[in-house]
């Protein structure tokens, strides 16, 4: 390199042809699209958090507290819709996958940059249609995010538009998955064989396949629901020979694999953070890779466990139960591998690592309570109770949500070129951990005692635990406020971050923070595994 060498301009300074907002919303740079997703998702997330807080306040006492029963129904539907379709499903892949994955595999961009931008436009259009559905037609949908027939066909609320929003969001998700799978097949740097690829791209690869193979089934299910509402075709209406249970089957054929669209990338994030802060390689690299792939495969065959009480033959019920137990094995493999990776490591307990610890604890509770749901006999007892609500919040927020924020703290210096206050970040993650347990553990107990989910009211004996849960929701809110204040403040006032602030070994840490426009000045050549320390 010559003496007059100048570091290349970062992607944040490189506007391309447009300027101002257009330099963002028309950019095909995967890093800018990643940040677009991040900002739009966090906006929707905040709205859904507020709705969640209001629901918890409603449930602090039996009977009416602050809202009508109908409003409550709309609230739990909208909370679920936003959290699932606008935050958790696009979540880690669209924000961090877009930003980090191409750099991790040594590529300049994704395979189809314009398609990538189209995905974001579809995402934001879907989001706006969802918002529109709340205030037009018959008002916000009140079916729950599952849109079960026959109620979703009969209710006068604006289900059709909300469902169309989910359809558009599904399209966006398919295109992202397709883009990532092609990118990983075609754009890896020279020398980066499949088994020299970091685990985060591996998890996105498995996720991409689930997105491609499962989401179209949701798309057709939602279209059929719209047809039912508009033309009265009768597929889900017994009076015309149809069967509402078929809707449940079609819905869960997508929506169970969708659970793995949510959790696989989170596991990928954890697999990246663990070796960096354990300062040694990951234990069982291949086992983690194969477990991702087998979760993606077997996860496609377990949807029936959502329907144990819907009316199914005993044979299909025990088969679905067995498969559910089998799909838990690869998740267990991952947890054991992460823990083993820490053994004899020289662990550096920094904020991203604290998120990993929180993840392993919370996800384990979520996963193990999942097995209680998956067993036929216990499922009958807890089906449709708060136990389910507690379980999936432990997995979704305690798992994916925590991994999302872990990823944010891990890659924040890389994405924005600034460091945040580690002290405040530690306070936030500790509060979040305490808050989540206070919020969700009482739900498990309440469900076990028989409190049904989605009810506006409850028996007096359930009040103490509901009060504790609501207090937990306030702790979570406080933690989130502290976390975001810290991060937003650092965007402007944080110390400048070095290229490799955490001492990581994967390719994104070899480029400057924030990375230059096309990521690498000189294309990398890979000669060893991703977590090998020299």
């Amino acid at each position: 390199m010559s003496a007059g060498y100048q570091a290349p301009k970062s992607f944040l300074d490189n506007h391309g042809k447009s300027s101002g907002a257009a330099a963002w919303i028309l950019s095909t740079d995967h890093k800018r699209i990643g940040i677009l997703y991040l900002c739009s998702m966090l906006t929707f997330f905040s709205v859904a958090v507020v709705i969640g807080l209001l629901m918890r306040i409603e449930l602090i006492a039996a009977g009416k507290t602050i809202m009508e029963a109908k409003t409550y129904n709309a609230f739990f539907t909208v909370h679920g819709m936003i959290m699932i379709f606008l935050f958790i499903i696009p979540g880690i892949p669209a924000a961090f996958g877009n930003f980090i994955m191409p750099i991790q595999i040594g590529a300049k961009d994704v395979a189809f940059p314009r398609l990538n931008l189209l995905s974001w436009w579809l995402y934001i259009s879907g989001g706006l249609i969802a918002v529109l559905s709340l205030f037009t037609g018959g008002g916000a949908p009140d079916t729950g995010w599952t849109f079960y027939a026959p109620y979703s066909i009969r209710t006068g609320t604006n289900v059709s538009l909300a469902v169309f929003a989910a359809f558009v969001l599904g399209f966006s998700s398919i295109l992202t998955g397709l883009n990532f799978v092609t990118t990983i097949h075609r754009m890896r740097a020279p020398g980066m064989t499949w088994f020299r690829m970091p685990l985060f791209p591996w998890s996105l690869y498995a996720t991409g396949w689930v997105q491609i193979v499962a989401t179209p089934v949701l798309a057709i299910t939602l279209l059929l629901l719209i047809f039912e509402r508009s033309f009265g075709v009768g597929f889900f209406d017994p009076a015309k020979g149809g069967d509402p249970i078929l809707f449940e089957h079609l819905f869960w054929i997508y929506s169970h694999p969708a659970v793995y669209i949510m959790i696989l990338p989170a596991m990928g994030v954890i697999s990246e953070i663990v070796p960096v802060f354990a300062r040694k390689g990951i234990f069982g690299y291949k086992a983690i890779v194969l477990s991702s792939l087998s979760i993606a495969g077997v996860g496609y065959l377990v949807w029936g466990h959502h329907m144990f009480t819907s009316g199914m033959s005993d044979t299909s019920r025990w088969i679905f139960s067995l498969l559910t137990f089998i799909v838990a094995v690869p998740s267990g493999v991952k947890v054991f591998n992460w823990v083993s990776s820490l053994y004899k490591g020289s662990i550096d307990v920094r904020p991203p690592f604290l998120y990993v610890m929180a993840f392993i604890f919370l996800f384990s509770i979520g996963g193990l309570t999942g097995l209680i749901n998956g067993a036929l006999s216990t499922n009958i007892h807890i089906h449709g109770t708060y136990f389910i609500v507690g379980h999936f919040h432990y997995v979704m927020f305690g798992g994916t949500g925590i991994a999302f924020f872990g990823a944010l703290h891990f890659w924040f210096p890389k994405m924005f070129g600034r460091m945040y206050s580690e002290k405040i970040a530690r306070v936030a993650v500790a509060l979040l951990f305490i808050g989540l347990n206070t919020l969700y553990f009482p739900m498990l107990v309440l469900g076990w005692q028989g409190m049904p989910r989605r009810y506006y009211d409850y028996l007096p004996q359930f009040q103490p635990l509901n009060v504790i849960s609501t207090i937990g929701s306030w702790i979570v809110a406080a933690a989130l406020i502290i976390m975001f204040t810290n991060l937003i403040r650092s965007l402007f006032k944080g110390e400048k971050a070095a290229g490799n602030p955490w001492d990581g070994t994967t390719l994104e840490w070899t480029v400057s923070s924030p990375p230059p426009h096309e990521n690498f000045e000189e294309g990398p050549v890979i000669t060893h595994g991703p977590y090998q320390r020299t």
Partner: protein, 206 residues
């Protein structure tokens, strides 16, 4: 920087990558229709006799005519790609136009077929239809939804081919860069392929 250390060619130049992306997209299309084929098989096994009766009402002649039209359009599509690859722009443009016109003919045929059914009062939720046995209601529901969604794909295909026609005449798609036309062709063949399954399921097996 030596040739080996160079990052792979710019994405839009990656012929195989573009193909991989298109095939993955076709997988999603197959699964989209897969959901409906699933409904078809469930309802058919539940009401075999009603399906048998209802299928008699459909005109095999019209269905067969549409099958011939679509198969021919797949041929003209393939020919247009073949000519463009060997650098012959004019016949390629000609066969692309023919493909679009055949797609249009398919839709005209479909219009008359649906029109006749609707004239007889056979459409979803119509009083005449609701008076029929349950299996027949479902048969016609599936008929309208599946052929309707297929028809929508024909329209989308025609729009894609029209854009490609403009691209070809402006030499954006040419003898050296023809992946867009090939991918458009793949989409058209998929639309054809789905009809190949719809035709026997609704018209032939009674």
């Amino acid at each position: 920087m030596s040739a080996e250390t160079e990052i792979k060619a710019a994405p839009h130049g990656d012929y195989v990558g573009a193909k991989v992306g298109m095939w993955l997209f076709l997988v999603t299309e197959v699964l989209l229709f897969g959901g409906m084929f699933l409904l078809y098989s469930v309802f058919r096994s539940k009401y075999p006799q009603d399906f048998h009766e209802a299928a008699k009402e459909l005109s095999v002649a019209l269905g067969a005519a549409n099958t011939v039209i679509l198969l021919t359009s797949s041929l003209t599509m393939a020919l247009s790609i073949g000519y463009l690859r060997s650098g012959k722009k004019k016949p390629s443009v000609l066969f692309q136009t023919a493909t679009i016109l055949l797609g249009f003919a398919f839709l005209v045929n479909k219009y008359f077929e649906w029109g006749a059914k609707i004239q007889h009062g056979l459409y979803p939720d119509s009083p005449e239809l609701l008076a029929l046995p349950k299996g027949e209601i479902l048969f016609y529901g599936l008929y309208y939804v599946m052929t309707g969604l297929h028809g929508l794909h024909v329209i989308v295909g025609m729009i894609i081919l029209s854009v490609l026609l403009v691209f070809t005449s402006k030499d954006i798609v040419n003898g050296h860069s023809f992946i867009k036309l090939e991918n458009g062709g793949l989409y058209w063949h998929l639309v054809d392929l789905i009809w190949i399954y719809l035709f026997p399921l609704f018209y032939l097996i009674t």
